[in-house]
């Protein structure tokens, strides 16, 4: 879908170079030039690109300006784009999200940053009852092209009220598109198509990913915000994960490979609408599935994915679908308990072994 697919242009290339400060790799020949970057820098480059490309784009939230964002995504943007476009807001999630809805209806392209998904609950009415419903309730007259970004997930010893994974809840709301970039490419490439979407888009950034580092092409690769992605091909079992769970699923796939089990890893990426075709396609090849979700098991996105597999690929399954989720407790603050509460590669590998071993 070209409307939602980022296209390369010179402005973006400059944005990447300027935001990350370095260019590596060849500039001629077949290998495209690449830059060393991090998830955080890739997000920042995506913001710069959007701000440069479209004067209607602006960012607002708590500590996004002088401080550069609580996770340093917007560091330096205030200096470059000024206070009109990089706005520190009063401490009121409901107020700045609601203002984002209003600005979007007025034709602007606001990016609202909420510190963590927990605090988005103070803005829940604006997200669920307003942003997500206004097009429908106005008979298509109103449009809310709003992007709301927030951190999600645990693992950084920030205690329950900063560590929950509530993106699955949002993924059940009609009217929203919900994205969960887990790779550098997606961190770099999802923002622009999200801004081009005429409907509200939520982007969940897992807090453990900001320091993820690697290389990206200088010319960002187009990113599709419709489809899941197979991140590692395999034949024996499909590990389905997203956001912070992706790295753990890939690590589990490494453990399994050492034992001769070939795991395919699917990154959901788009939590709403779910890309059934990619999920079902993979499970139909491997005949076994393990769903990884850092949220609580009961009523989770993992439950939804599992139900779809059972509905659509029941006769393809050689084993029951396994789920690896967080312990059903408020995420603990002590580091060792927090680690114990979350899905870990060893637990994912164990679930895969059960699926393969007991029924293989």
């Amino acid at each position: 879908m070209s409307r939602r697919t980022a296209t390369a242009d010179r402005a973006r290339e400059q944005a990447t170079e300027k935001a990350t400060g370095k260019t590596t790799g060849k500039t001629t020949g077949k290998v495209p030039p690449t830059v060393e970057t991090t998830y955080r820098e890739a997000m920042r480059a995506a913001h710069r690109e959007a701000l440069l490309r479209d004067p209607r784009v602006f960012l607002m939230g708590e500590d996004v300006g002088r401080y550069g964002g609580s996770f340093a995504v917007s560091l330096g943007l205030l200096e470059e784009f000024g206070e009109e476009r990089i706005r520190d807001t009063p401490l009121s999630e409901s107020a700045f999200t609601g203002a984002g809805v209003g600005a979007a209806m007025r034709g602007l392209r606001p990016i609202v940053e909420i510190m963590t998904v927990n605090f988005s609950l103070l803005a829940l009415d604006q997200i669920l009852d307003n942003a997500a419903t206004l097009r429908h309730m106005s008979g298509g007259q109103l449009s809310v092209p709003l992007v709301i970004r927030m951190t999600t997930g645990a693992g950084r010893q920030l205690a329950a009220q900063h560590s929950h994974s509530l993106e699955g809840w949002y993924a059940s709301i009609p009217g929203l598109r919900v994205l969960a970039p887990a790779t550098l490419e997606d961190a770099r490439g999802m923002l622009w198509p999200a801004l081009e979407d005429p409907d509200p888009v939520l982007i969940f950034e897992h807090g453990s990913l900001y320091n993820l580092s690697g290389t990206l092409p200088v010319e960002p690769t187009p990113v599709d915000i419709e489809r899941a992605a197979v991140r590692r091909p395999g034949t024996d079992v499909t590990l389905i994960a997203y956001a912070g769970g992706l790295g753990k699923a890939l690590a589990a796939a490494d453990l399994l490979a050492a034992e001769g089990i070939s795991a395919e890893v699917v990154d959901l990426r788009v939590l709403r609408p779910l890309d059934d075709a990619t999920i079902i396609g993979s499970v139909s090849r491997t005949h076994r599935a393990v769903v990884v979700d850092e949220a609580w098991r009961s009523g989770s996105l993992a439950a939804e994915v599992t139900a779809r597999i059972v509905e659509q690929a029941f006769y393809e399954l050689d084993a029951p679908v396994e789920r690896v989720c967080a312990a059903e407790v408020p995420i603990p603050y002590p580091h060792h308990l927090e680690e114990a509460a979350l899905p870990q590669p060893e637990g994912i590998a164990a679930a895969a072994r059960r699926a393969v071993g007991e029924h293989g």
């Binding site: 708590e62 002088r66 401080y67 401490l91 605090f119 312990a327 603050y333």
Partner: protein
């Protein structure tokens, strides 16, 4: 609109560090006692010994704070929110409370907890992650910390409504009439919860004193991002009294809080106190304030240090001598050593405790997960 109204509406926010003419002060930054027609009565019967104990509290909680900071830097605590600079606001207001009053803190009121008689290890326990909650809120009528900005103002309002429903307001019995005090920050003043708490508390005449420590910053955002008018003036729009006090003046904070608590206990709540102070340190150990504020501002506030001004006053009035100050410093050294020792020897929580208290009673999901965890844990012992 008349010119007067327009002029009033455009009254500028006072300079940082000034506090403006409405700010109640009993001790100047230089340690001079200045009298106030309304508030002198609340400090009139404080003895020299009382004042020395105020001083001691100020010094000890600054030390507690320094230890908390150091322990976090050494990896012994996950996080530490510093109270540096806000000692007088916390000691003055905390000492004004009666034991049966109830406190709703934010996450920074280690000093209030201390003067309530709480074991100072409690806040270290919380931030070390060896206990859920850190302390028993009923032991000293000091509620647990709240991290969701502003949420506790509604809890305090509801609690105060309960106090009133129990008939513990306006009876004239000093052992019975009860006030609730709720701490929050300048940044919190923008939250919907806080504004709704104001509306609600006013509507039900709740015996609650809203105590805003305006420390000028909400992480990186200056108070001017939250408000155009001095925060205490907001109360007027909600229909209850608001007062600004010099939060670095322990006497004034004590006097103003005593007055407001009396009012609340007598049934004249709610009330708002804005304690004008300054966050001398970082927001928490996870923050670096040099990124967003100038050191000149911090330097300026050093001249308003809450401890130094009381010390100067005590020395000048002959209420304390060098021997006393030395003795307090020595006590603080011992106190610090005890805190450290206590902190690093705290026992960690066993993994299976994670499933405790999710519900009041046994719950099938918790039991199943706990059992699976214990079996997993036992598998290591078998392997050994």
């Amino acid at each position: 609109m008349s010119d007067k109204v327009v002029a009033e509406l455009h009254q500028p926010t006072p300079e940082v560090g000034d506090g403006g003419p409405d700010m109640i002060q009993l001790l100047t930054p230089e340690g001079q006692r200045v009298s106030h027609p309304d508030y002198d009565q609340y400090v009139a019967d404080l003895t020299a010994e009382d004042l020395r104990s105020f001083y001691r509290d100020l010094v000890l909680i600054r030390r507690l704070d320094a230890e908390g900071y150091a322990l976090q830097r050494q990896g012994e605590l996950g996080l530490w929110p510093s109270l540096l600079g806000q000692e007088a606001a916390q000691v003055g207001s905390g000492r004004a409370l009666k034991p049966h009053d109830f406190v709703f803190p934010t996450y920074r009121e280690h000093g209030v907890g201390f003067v309530r008689g709480m074991d100072p290890q409690s806040s270290l326990q919380l931030f070390r992650g060896v206990s859920q909650g850190g302390w028993d809120p009923t032991e000293h009528n000091f509620h647990l910390y709240t991290i969701v900005i502003g949420a506790q103002t509604l809890h305090a309002t509801g609690y105060a409504m309960g106090v009133k429903m129990d008939g513990n307001v306006g009876t004239g019995d000093p052992d019975r009439d009860t006030a609730v005090i709720c701490y929050f920050g300048d940044g919190a003043s923008s939250q919907g919860d806080v504004n709704e708490a104001f509306v609600y508390a006013a509507s039900f005449d709740a015996p609650v004193v809203f105590f805003c420590q305006n420390n000028q910053w909400a992480i990186s955002e200056p108070v001017t991002k939250q408000t155009r008018i001095p925060l205490f003036q907001r109360a007027r729009g909600f229909g209850f009294p608001g007062v600004r006090v010099d939060g670095n003046d322990v006497l004034a904070t004590y006097a103003v809080t005593k007055h407001c608590l009396d009012e609340a206990r007598n049934g004249n709540g709610p009330l708002l106190i804005e304690a004008y102070t300054y966050r001398m340190g970082a927001h928490t150990t996870a923050d670096d304030p040099t990124k967003y504020r100038v050191s000149a501002e911090v330097e300026q506030w050093k001249f308003r240090d809450p401890i130094l001004r009381l010390k100067t006053y005590l020395a000048h009035e002959g209420m304390a001598d060098d021997a006393f100050f030395t003795q307090v410093d020595e006590e603080a050294d011992g106190f610090a050593a005890e805190l450290r020792e206590g902190c690093i020897t705290m026992e960690t929580m066993a993994g299976e405790t994670m499933w405790d208290h999710v519900y009041a009673e046994d719950h099938p999901v918790m039991e199943a997960e706990r059992a699976a965890f214990l079996a997993y844990k036992a598998s290591f012992e078998e392997a050994n």
